[in-house]
Symmetry: C2
Amino acid sequence: MSADLSTVHLIERHRATLDKALEAVRTREYWSPYPEQLKAYPEAEAGKAAFEALLGHQFELDQPGTDEWTGSERSPYGMELGVRYPHPDPDRLLPAMRAALPAWRDAGPEARAMVCLEILSRINARTHEFAHAVMHTSGQAFTMAFQAGGPHAQDRALEAVTYAYAEQIRVPDSAQWIKPQGKREPLDLRKTFTAVPRGVGLVIGCNTFPTWNGYPGLFASLATGNAVLVKPHPQAVLPLALTVAIAREVLAEAGFPSDLVCLAVERPGEGLAKTLALRPEVRVIDYTGSTGFGDWLEANARQAQVFTEKAGVNSVVVDSTGDYRGMLANLAFSLSLYSGQMCTTPQNLLIPRDGIETDAGPKSYDEVVADLAAAVDGLLGDDTRANALLGALVSPEVKGRLEAAPDLGEVALASRSLKHPDFPHAVVRTPAVIKLDAAKPDAEAAFMAECFGPVSFAVAVDSTADAVQLLRRTIRDKGAMTVGGYTTSPEVERQLEEACWEESAQLSLNLTGGVYVNQTAAFSDFHGSGGNPAANAALCDGAFVASRFRTVEVRRPA
Amino acid sequence: MSADLSTVHLIERHRATLDKALEAVRTREYWSPYPEQLKAYPEAEAGKAAFEALLGHQFELDQPGTDEWTGSERSPYGMELGVRYPHPDPDRLLPAMRAALPAWRDAGPEARAMVCLEILSRINARTHEFAHAVMHTSGQAFTMAFQAGGPHAQDRALEAVTYAYAEQIRVPDSAQWIKPQGKREPLDLRKTFTAVPRGVGLVIGCNTFPTWNGYPGLFASLATGNAVLVKPHPQAVLPLALTVAIAREVLAEAGFPSDLVCLAVERPGEGLAKTLALRPEVRVIDYTGSTGFGDWLEANARQAQVFTEKAGVNSVVVDSTGDYRGMLANLAFSLSLYSGQMCTTPQNLLIPRDGIETDAGPKSYDEVVADLAAAVDGLLGDDTRANALLGALVSPEVKGRLEAAPDLGEVALASRSLKHPDFPHAVVRTPAVIKLDAAKPDAEAAFMAECFGPVSFAVAVDSTADAVQLLRRTIRDKGAMTVGGYTTSPEVERQLEEACWEESAQLSLNLTGGVYVNQTAAFSDFHGSGGNPAANAALCDGAFVASRFRTVEVRRPA
C-alpha cells in the first residue's frame, strides 16, 4: 500500500461520500455507499483464503503494553479458530493511547472524518474476509454475516462518522465578536473554538453482531477525537481484531499515532471489561449486551459517558390485516432470521383471544397461531434454504433456553434440529412458538422476561385495547428495540402510534413484504430509541455523538 | 391581553428572531435580541410598583395539587419579602403535568419554539419587575440584577430554545424510503419521525442567579416537548415564580395546558428537591448549586438525564503583560463584581514568586499583589460606585467564609464593610486577597477548595511552567468554570491553550478592557465546558438539548 494519505488526498477521495451521507441523514431517503450484493465484491476466494490464513496464528498488532497472548474462540459452526490476540497491561496501554490524543485533536473534524472513511473503505474492500470472521464468531449464516457484518455495519459506521462530523462543525473554528458600546469603542474579541476529546473510548463488543453493534460507538468516538480501545466479546474477537488492524494501518499511513485504536482481549473468565470500564482514562463507553452488566456500567462507570444497548422484550400487536398471507410470511421470516438471535426479533405476538379480521375472513386465535406455525414450517421446509436463513445457535445458553421453552406453555410450533451440510457440529434450530394466555397468572413471568433466541410467545389477550395496554407496560418495564403492529383500523394505528410515542419505541406497521421489523437501514431508520429500558441510546442521532467531545473556547482581544 | 396566539400569528411575530438566533449560534458573532441598556425599558416605575405589589401576598398560580402555601424569602438587602407560594403534593401535581404532554408533543418543534419566544417576549417586557425580584433574592446590585437577571438570562433562554429547535428538526417529519431491488419491485416505505419528550423536566434553581442559571434548562426542556417543574432555591423563588406565571399565561392563551410549567416551593428544611428528583415522572433534571448535591443527583436520579453546574476553582495564570494597568483594572473588576459571588469569579491568581515582566518594567510577586490590591481599592474607593458593583452578600455562609479568610494566609487586601445608602441592613463587603505560597504544604488545602464569595488567593508559584501544571491539576481535580491568562509570550499562550484543551476548560487571554473573565455572552461564548468536574454540561451546545427528547419513527408500506 503506497497510497498518499495526506488530508488533501483523503478529501479528494472521500469528501463527496461524506457530503452524500450528510444529505442522507437529513432526508432519511434510501442511500448506501457500500453495496450489499455479494456479486459487487469479486474477491470471494481471496477473502476466504485470507480468513483461513488467520486461523491458528498469533494476530500481530504491534501495540504497546501487551503482557501475554490469549484467545479461545470456537465457531458456532464447530471449529476452534485458534487465533491468539494481545492481552493488555492497562497501566502501559492506556497512557500510550492518551499520549496519542493531541495530534488527533489537532487534526480537526474533517481530517478525522476522512481517516475514518479511509478505514471503512479498506474494511469494505475486505468484506468477504470479514463475512467469514463474522460467520464463525456469531453463528450467522454466510449471507447474513456478509451483509449485516459487512456493508450494513459499514453503513452504520459511516452514519456515526457523519453525525460526529456534523456535530463538531456546528460551531465555527473561529469568530470575531464585536459588541457595540454606543459612542465608545466597541468591544472586540477574537475567539477560537476547538472540539476536544473526552479521552479513551471503550467499546465492549457483543457475540452476535461484533461489527454491526461495535462500529457505531467505535467510529463515533474516533471521529470526535477520542482514542478507542476495543474489548470484544471473547467469542467474537476476530472481526474486531481485523477492524483494529486496518484502523491502525490507516492511522499510521496518514501520519497519526496508530495507538489511537487498540485491542484488548480478555483471558477466559477474567472480566476485563469491568476493570477497563473503571479506569480514569476511559471517558466514553459503548456497550451491547446483557441488562445486568449494562446497568452495572451505568451505575459504576461514573467517569465516563456510557451508551448501552441491553435486553428488551419486543412485541407485535396483531389486530387485523388486509394481507393475511403477507403478514404470516413476514412474521415467519422475522422469527426465523438468525434463529431469532437478534435484539430486534419479535418475542411476544399479542393476539386477541376472540380472533382477528383478515382479508381471508375472520381467524380465531388458534387459527392465527397455527397458520403462523405453518408459515414458518413452509419457509424452513427446505433444509438448504433453512440453513441459509437460520445460521447456528451462538451459545449453549441460547440452546438451553430453547430446550426449556416447551415447559413455559403449550407448544404451537416445535423447534426442529437441522444438519448443516458443511459443518456437522453446528447447532442449527428452527424457532419455537409457545402459546400463553395473558389472563393466566403464571404466564406473565414467561413472556415479560427476555427469552433471547428462537423462542416466541403467541400471547392471547382480551382485546386489541388490552394488547395495547400490555404493549405499553412491556416497553415501560422491560424495554423494546422494536414494536410491530398489524391493523386495518386507522384508530388502532393511532393507538399504537400513541403508545410508541409515549413509551418511546420504534414502530413498524403492517409489514407484509420484503422489509422486516427486525431490520433497520442506516441513514434512515433509528435502531432503538434511547428512551426505554432496552437502550439508553439510538443509532444514530445527535445525542449519540454530542457528548463524546467538548468544545473549548479561547478568547482574546482582537 | 387579547393577543391572537395562534401558531400562525406567533410565527409571524417570532420566526424572524428564531432565524437570527439560528444564524448567531452558527457564526458566534455578537448578537442579542434583548437590549441590555436600562433606557431601552421605559417602565421603570411601573416595574418597581409591580414588584412591590407582590410583597406580602400569596402568589396565585392556579396549579393543581397545592396542599399548602409556603415562603420564607428574606432579601440580602434586609427585608422580608413575605410572599407565599404553592407547595405541591407531587402525587397530584406530577400526573397533571404528565397529562399535559401529548398536546404539547403534537404541537411540534416550531410551535413549541414560538410559544417559548412569546414567553420570553413577555418576560422581557417586565424586565424592571424581574430586576427588583432578582436583586432582592440574589443580593445583586440593581444594574447587574437588571442585566444578568433580565436580558442576559433571556438571551441564554433563547439560545437554549434555538439549540432545541435546531436539534429536533435535524430529522424530517416524514420521508419516503425506496430501496431498489434489481429487477423486482423496489421496497417502498413511508416513515414519520416524531420528537417525543422524556417526561417532566425538573429545574432546581440557585440563590445567586435564579433566572440566568435556571432559564437554559427550563427552556431547553420545554422546547423539546417536556413539561417543566421549577423548584427554586427557597431564598430565590420570586423571579422564577414570575417566570412560571408568565409561561402558564402564554401556554393557556396559545391553547395548551398551562400545567406544562409548574412551580414547586419547599417548606424550610424540607429537602423537596431530593424527593422530586427521584420521582419516576421526572426524566430530566437541571441543577445549579453545590458539588455535594450535584454529585448526589448524578448518582441517584438514575431515571433522569441530569445536567449539573457545581462548584469549581477558577484560576488566572499571570505570566507577563503588555498592559499592566489594564490587567490590574480588569482583574480588580472581576474580583469585585457581585462581591465575587459568581461561579465564574477567579479564585486563584497564580503568580511566579520571582515576579513578572510588564510594560511598566519587571514587577515582583509582592508588587503585583500590592498593585492589584490598590486597583481594587481604587475601583471601590467611591462608596456609591462600590455599592453599584458589589451588591450584598447572599448568605451568612458567604459572610462566614469571608470572615475566616484572614486565617488562611497573609492578608494582602482586607475586606471592608460598606453601608448601603438605601438598605441599612444589607451586608456589603469588598473582596479580600490572601497571599499563599504553593510551596508551603498547608497552603494547598486553602486554595484547592472552592471558597465561594469575595475571597481570592494570590498564589506564589515557582514559575509559569509550575503555574500551568497547577492549573491543569486544579481543573482536573476541582473543576473550573473559567480560566484566565496573562502573557506576552506566544509559547506560554500555547501552553495555556494546550492545558485548557486537554483539561476541557474555557480560556480568556489577556483581558484588559471591558470584557471580564467572569462574563460570557449567549450565542457566542460557552458557559462551562461540561468536560471538567465543575459542570457536566455547557451552555449551550448540542449535548445540552439532544438527550432531552427522543425521536420515534413509525414506518409502514407506502
